[in-house]
Amino acid sequence: MHEINATDVHYKELNEEIRESIRNNEHDLILDGVCGQYYIGCGISNSNVKITINGVPGNDLGAFMNGPVINVMNNAQDGIGNTMNGGKIVIHGSVGDVLAYSMRGGSIFVKENVGYRACIHMKAYKEMNPTVVIGGCAGAFAGEYMAGGTMILLGLNKSETRPIAGVYLATGMHGGSIFIRGKISHDILWEKAEIEAVTNEDYTNIKNNVKEFCNIFKIDYNRVMDEEFVKVVPESSRPYGNLYIPGP
């Protein structure tokens, strides 16, 4: 275990110190006093690395990351997991906008709420299938332009005044799946996305991820699974194919 005091340290120096520590074979890093430093864990591709963050990390946490596990013990900001390739990010609080922006692989677990545009343009390819599990509710435009991967939205704190997902859900979606616990209104869904029944194969995937979510955050698995899930998928893989040119 290697502790790094991040209090009033500029993000560039902090990230250099993290890399230097890893080069010195320190694989279990604890960052204390983090407050707003950008790009923590950016581009690190060592799967043995574990970074624990005390404080609120800055934007683009884990961007381009490929392997490490990041644990944030507080809230986090915008752009977490931007173009992340592999590894895991766990947030013990809420996060800001554009979570998992263009994420390509690995997994993200958020205990509470996420802001606008979660999983925007997330994508999958062959064995690369990014997964995002959200314990609370999502802001508007969740799954915007989503091209692949899996988003699981649990809404454990949803209520009449706080819907599980905001409006414009799945706008521009053309790949991947969004699983939502409970029912959602068609009014919030983009007209070219559809609600489907969840298959047995989907359920296995949901159960595995929810189990991991519940283990991480010490939440009762049975309580989470006491509601049915619905699946949101795109109507077509090219929803804008005829936007400028009239179709057949």
Binding site: H10, Y11, K12, C35, G36, Y38, G55, V56, P57, G58, N59, N75, Q77, D78, S94, G96, D97, N113, G115, Y116, G139, A140, F141, G166, V167, Y168, D187
Partner: protein, 367 residues
């Protein structure tokens, strides 16, 4: 330390002590400095409310001059139009860079001047008089710009990083119940001293992250009401629109989001009859006051602050509470940096203003 500019986006921060407690400028400077990376040294500024209790009856004109001649011309004009209770150079620290001259004047309209010396100054209403005076100076007097013109408040701004501007204007020596701050990364418009935020008119002040794509439409609309956009920056229109819509038209502040960040027609069409009629009417009357494009703004006004996003939230904004103080900023860390153990943190919904005001008792004490 030298910064590499690989990211952009202005930063905004602000807070209000709703119990009227006065705080020095140190906290707000620390908060905006934490987001130093959001700017590039081409503009920063602060608005402070409650800083001139000894002159609270007077309009506090903060005026920026390019040179001594512009000061002389302006002061000759002010002498004709106003009673100047007190004036002087604004307290500053020495910096090693060319900068304009800053003066503060505590004024009230003179009886004879409000009685129609000329066609353009016929109004008897003091606020209206000050607005016209501000527009006249900004437009007609070369090298003079009114930075702020409210009562018991003031704006401090210029070209530099927030810490440089805070140091220049000695904002650590002022005490305010409410502060807002801006860190600028100019995109489409020049980074000059007058173009720094906040933009202010009377008690309104605006700091803004984003861009107002509708600037042209907003500007033409304002010109019909004799507001002159002279600061070469889109944000200016927000201050004038607020003055027109809230002060002059007496539209409720709580609903300003319905004009600035109006719902899309697709949403209006889904509304119940009464709401649909209301929003349709607003689109008809105030369509030209819609702020199009991505933005998050913090607006200071007499006794309060509000934060607002564009209707689909294309810029960040976080709000928080601790005791009787309400904070808003582009990033949560900027709030956490100056206050530990927040009671509550939340992300405002797009187009819905977060409003925080002084308590009635505090308002009476301050004003």
């Amino acid at each position: 330390m030298e910064l590499s500019k690989d990211i952009s986006g202005c930063g905004i921060a602000g807070f209000i002590n709703t119990d009227g407690t006065l705080t020095s400028g140190i906290d707000i400077a620390d908060s905006i400095n934490l987001m130093k990376e959001r700017g590039n040294g081409l503009g920063a500024g602060f608005a402070a409310y409650g800083i001139y209790p000894d002159f609270k009856e007077y309009y506090a004109l903060h005026i920026m001059y390019d040179n001594e001649q512009s000061r002389k011309n302006t002061e000759a004009y002010l002498d004709r139009k106003l009673h100047i209770e007190q004036h002087g150079g604004m307290p500053t620290r020495i910096i090693n860079k060319k900068r304009p001259i800053f003066f503060v004047y505590f004024v009230e309209p003179r009886e004879q001047s409000t009685k129609a010396e000329s066609e353009e100054f016929q109004s008897r209403e003091a606020d209206e008089f000050i607005v016209k005076l501000t527009m006249h100076i900004n437009e007609k007097i070369d090298g003079a710009y009114v930075v702020s013109s409210g009562k018991n408040m003031g704006v401090f701004k210029g070209v530099g990083y927030p810490e440089e501007i805070a140091n220049l204007f000695r904002i650590d020596e002022y005490k305010a119940y409410m502060w807002t701050a801006h860190n600028r990364f100019p995109t489409n418009t020049p980074g000059w001293w007058g173009g720094a935020h906040p933009f202010s008119l009377l008690d309104w002040s605006v700091v803004h992250n984003g861009e107002i794509s509708s600037y042209g439409a907003n500007k033409r609309y304002l010109e019909m009401y004799r507001y002159k956009c002279t600061q070469k920056t889109d944000t200016e229109v927000i201050a004038y629109l607020l003055d027109l819509i809230i002060r002059k038209h007496k539209f409720p502040l709580e609903k300003i989001g319905d004009i600035f960040s109006a719902p899309l027609w697709s949403e209006i069409n889904k509304m119940q009859k009464k709401d649909k009629e209301f929003h349709t009417a607003l689109r008809m009357v105030y369509g030209s006051a819609l702020l199009n494009g991505p933005f998050s703004i913090l607006v200071g006004f007499k006794g309060g602050i509000f934060g607002l996003n564009d209707r689909i939230k294309l810029r960040p904004l976080v709000a928080a509470k601790k005791g009787s103080t309400v904070y808003m900023a582009s990033e949560e860390s900027a709030i956490r940096y100056i206050v530990k153990d927040l009671d509550e943190v939340w992300m405002p919904d797009a187009g819905k203003p977060v409003i925080a005001k002084l308590t009635e008792e505090a308002y009476k004490n301050v004003y």
